[in-house]
């Protein structure tokens, strides 16, 4: 009963968000503020809200995706439904707070409550070890990034004597403080959107339920970083060094994530790395510093939210039916395209999603990625090296994206080749494989509750490209399509030969995670034992020693009591004499 109540509240709230987005659509930007408190004599703390075009866009994205996810979850989640739905609703509320807040601290509240909700939701299946570990890593990494984020707020806030976002940038500000502030904010954004230095938590967050991955790790939370930079864009534009840093980080992440996605052995992990890569593309767009770069990034954010959310929901259906999203398990069902035949709707929706992701012309991904490439090309043409770097890396990423999309598509719906090096890999015609051929009959389409949101998102993935007015630069469109084909062909040929050459480096994702484990986690644990030991032995020893000296001293004084009356008398007389002398000395 409580579960249904929470479900109603969840869906209702997300619909409310969509409604708010719709209502605010044409309205001109305005700010409202609640009561507040004055701290010290120049800081005014209050909850301030602001609505403008950017807010409407984000509200729409958040609203739509969260509605789809809430409806989808009704069919998907089976245990602890009430707490699950409550936390997803809280998450949506937090994201809305981030989107509409005009005060840096209110934004920080939404920012970190999102982190906490993602922790709780990733740890939803806390029976499983990887879910527990993934949840903790996600929260700790985002929390680690949020501390510099807080310091960035301090630097900017104290610099401009206000924490109101709309007033930031108004007062005079030394460039190096601005750069320091924006760089610190950048660290927070890199942590939250899983860019290169702090990217290991997103792939490990996949054990969480798929709707959660769709909502949090595809559409909203990770995109909050893009939203923040877009919101404070005029600040970031002034800080050139920060933009160049952003560009470098984005390009490195793009290529790193795309390469890892090419070698991943699990559907959701591929999608996770793909999300990191697509986010990097958005950041690359932002890092160009031009307004149409910002516009392209936001456009890509919107389309990415749609098709990536869709892909995660489809992966959810696969997970639901097959029990695991790893190719090793899927392999047994893909013998004769069983997945394609048994689950046609999922097949169609996933194909459109992958097409949008790969940038097949006509779909949303194609248009948004092109707008980024176009923006990059314009800045590159004006001679900025950043533009060139971004342009080249986006193009390379486009082809890599096409590679892993086609690979994913073929492996799931047509035939998964023998996975070299994967656990229990067996050849195609291995007799053993057929024996325990699971009867594919038990596979069946997800319930309509799960399919309806997927279809809605498919419409989005297909049609969103046209909402931003089709002004296509034919040359760039041609180049990106050619790149996509260049990426897709090797995937097809490899699949056709049944080979799966995965370099160990890519499979272990460049060994970044074990390195972090060795570099940070082990020393901290050792330090912890040192501190506890120190407390017990070093400081504790002093305290115990104080006690023992007391006892020893008393034992020593006891020896003075010899029991002989005359000794006492002598001592008394000596005392009197000494006092007399003292009195005499002091007296004179």
């Amino acid at each position: 009963m409580i579960a249904t109540a929470w479900r109603v509240v969840g869906v209702g709230f997300s619909l409310l968000v969509v409604l708010a987005a719709a209502l605010l659509y044409g309205v001109d930007p305005q700010q409202t503020s609640s009561a507040g408190a004055m701290i010290g004599e120049d800081f005014w703390f209050a909850y301030e809200f602001r609505t403008d075009g950017l807010t409407v866009l984000m509200l729409a994205v958040v609203g739509v995706v969260s509605t789809c996810v809430q409806v989808y979850s009704i069919g998907y989640v089976r245990e602890r439904i009430a707490s699950y739905t409550a936390i997803v609703t809280l998450f949506t509320a937090a994201m809305v707070t981030v989107v509409i807040s005009d005060n840096l601290f209110l934004l920080l509240i939404g920012w970190e409550v999102m982190g906490a909700c993602s922790y709780l939701l990733i740890g939803h299946y806390w029976e499983r070890r990887d879910a527990r570990a993934g949840a903790m890593k996600a929260f700790l990494m985002t929390r680690l990034a949020d501390i510099p984020f807080l310091f960035g707020i301090f630097v900017l806030g104290v610099g401009y004597h206000t924490f109101r976002i709309s007033d930031l940038g108004s007062g005079p500000m030394e460039p190096h403080t601005l750069t320091a502030g924006t760089l610190l904010l950048l660290v927070g954004v890199v942590g939250k959107s899983a860019q290169v230095p702090l990217q290991t938590w997103l792939p490990d967050a996949m054990p969480g339920p798929s709707p959660v991955s769709a909502l949090i790790h595809a559409a909203t939370m990770v995109a909050a970083g893009v939203f923040l930079i877009a919101r404070l864009y005029d600040l970031f534009v002034e800080a050139h060094t920060t933009l160049t840093v952003l560009a470098v980080v984005a390009c490195v992440t793009m290529l790193f994530a795309a390469s890892c996605a090419m070698a991943a052995v699990e559907v959701k992990r591929v999608l996770a790395w793909s999300t990191v890569s697509q986010l990097a593309i958005m950041f690359a767009g932002l890092s160009l510093g031009t307004h149409d770069g910002r516009h392209a990034a936001l456009f890509h954010l919107m389309t990415h939210a749609a098709f990536k959310g869709l892909l995660f929901l489809c992966a959810g259906v696969l997970l639901h039916q097959v029990g695991s999203a790893a190719f090793v398990v899927l392999r047994r069902y893909t013998r004769r395209g069983a997945l394609r035949k048994r689950m046609p709707v999922t097949f169609v929706t996933m194909t459109i999603g992958l097409a949008a992701l790969a940038g097949v012309p006509g779909f949303a991904g194609f248009f948004s990625k092109d707008s980024v490439v176009e923006a990059a090309w314009e800045t590159a043409r004006d001679g900025s090296t950043v533009g060139w770097i971004v342009l080249v890396s986006v193009c390379v990423t486009a082809s890599m994206t096409a590679f892993y999309c086609v690979r994913l598509w073929l492996w799931i719906f047509f035939r998964t080749p023998a996975l070299a090096g994967a656990v229990g890999a067996f050849e195609d015609d291995d007799p053993m494989a057929d024996l325990e051929e699971p009867d594919a009959r038990k596979l069946h389409e997800g319930s309509w509750l799960m399919l309806a949101p997927m279809i809605l998102l498919t419409v989005g993935a297909a049609g969103l490209g046209y909402t931003d007015g089709v002004h296509l630069n034919w040359a760039i469109a041609l180049i990106t399509t050619v790149l996509a084909i260049l990426g897709a062909l090797p995937a097809y040929s490899l699949w056709h030969r049944g080979a799966d050459p995965r370099p160990a480096l890519l499979e272990h994702e460049y060994g970044v995670d074990p390195a972090y484990q060795r570099l940070f986690v082990v020393p901290v644990r050792w330090l912890a034992k040192l501190v506890v030991g120190g407390d017990r032995d070093v400081i504790g020893a002093y305290v115990r020693a104080a006690g023992r000296t007391g006892v020893l001293a008393s034992a020593g004084f006891r020896k003075l009591q010899t029991g002989n009356v005359q000794t006492y008398l002598t001592a008394a007389v000596v005392g009197v004499v000494a006092l007399a002398i003292l009195a005499g000395v002091i007296g004179s």
Binding site: T567, T570, V573, V577, A580, G584
Partner: protein, 184 residues
């Protein structure tokens, strides 16, 4: 004339006192005490405090020293010269006494260096008598009560012959019962 008399008596008293404190034989020490107290009585006489001198001889020499002698007899004090009559600490005690003497002497000399005692007419017991029963009557009464209490205490203490220490009472419970029985 009185100064000469006084210094003779004083010298006698001091010499006797030294012997009291250092003599090897305890009984001799008691006898030297008699001489010392006699010397002091002489000094009182020199200061015309005849009544006090007489009381001194009467009570001190007569009663107290006799009591001491009785005590010596009861505690079977050896009459032969004892080898170590003073404790290990005696040199230290001597030093302490000497320093005390120096300080007191210095104090007294500084305070009353050149005071003179005017020759006094023959003192009389009458003045002491009036004082005891006029201004000092309360301390006198209290003193009498104290004397009474002290003596009762002394009797009570020495009343129970087998008053053994509590520690020993436990070990030989039976025999105390028998001994006190025998006592009555």
């Amino acid at each position: 004339m009185t100064t000469a008399l006084f210094s003779i008596a004083g010298a006698v008293a001091v010499v006797a006192a030294v012997f009291v404190v250092t003599s090897r034989r305890i009984v001799h020490a008691a006898l030297w005490l008699v001489v010392a107290l006699g010397g002091v009585a002489g000094c009182f006489g020199a200061l015309h405090a005849e009544f006090v001198a007489l009381v001194q001889i009467l009570v001190y020499v007569g009663a107290i020293v006799v009591l001491v002698l009785f005590a010596l007899m009861l505690t079977k004090a050896p009459t032969n010269p004892l080898p170590n009559v003073t404790t290990g600490r005696s040199p230290f005690a001597a030093v302490v006494a000497a320093v005390l003497a120096l300080i007191l002497g210095a104090g007294v000399v500084l305070a009353f260096g050149n005071e003179k005692i005017r020759p006094v007419t023959a003192g009389s017991a009458q003045a002491v008598g009036t004082q005891v029963f006029k201004t000092w009557v309360l301390p006198f009464e209290v003193l009498s009560v104290l004397l009474l209490a002290a003596l009762i205490g002394a009797i009570a203490l020495s009343q129970r012959p087998s008053q053994t220490l509590p520690s020993q009472k436990l070990s030989e419970g039976s025999d105390t019962v028998s001994s006190s029985g025998k006592e009555d």
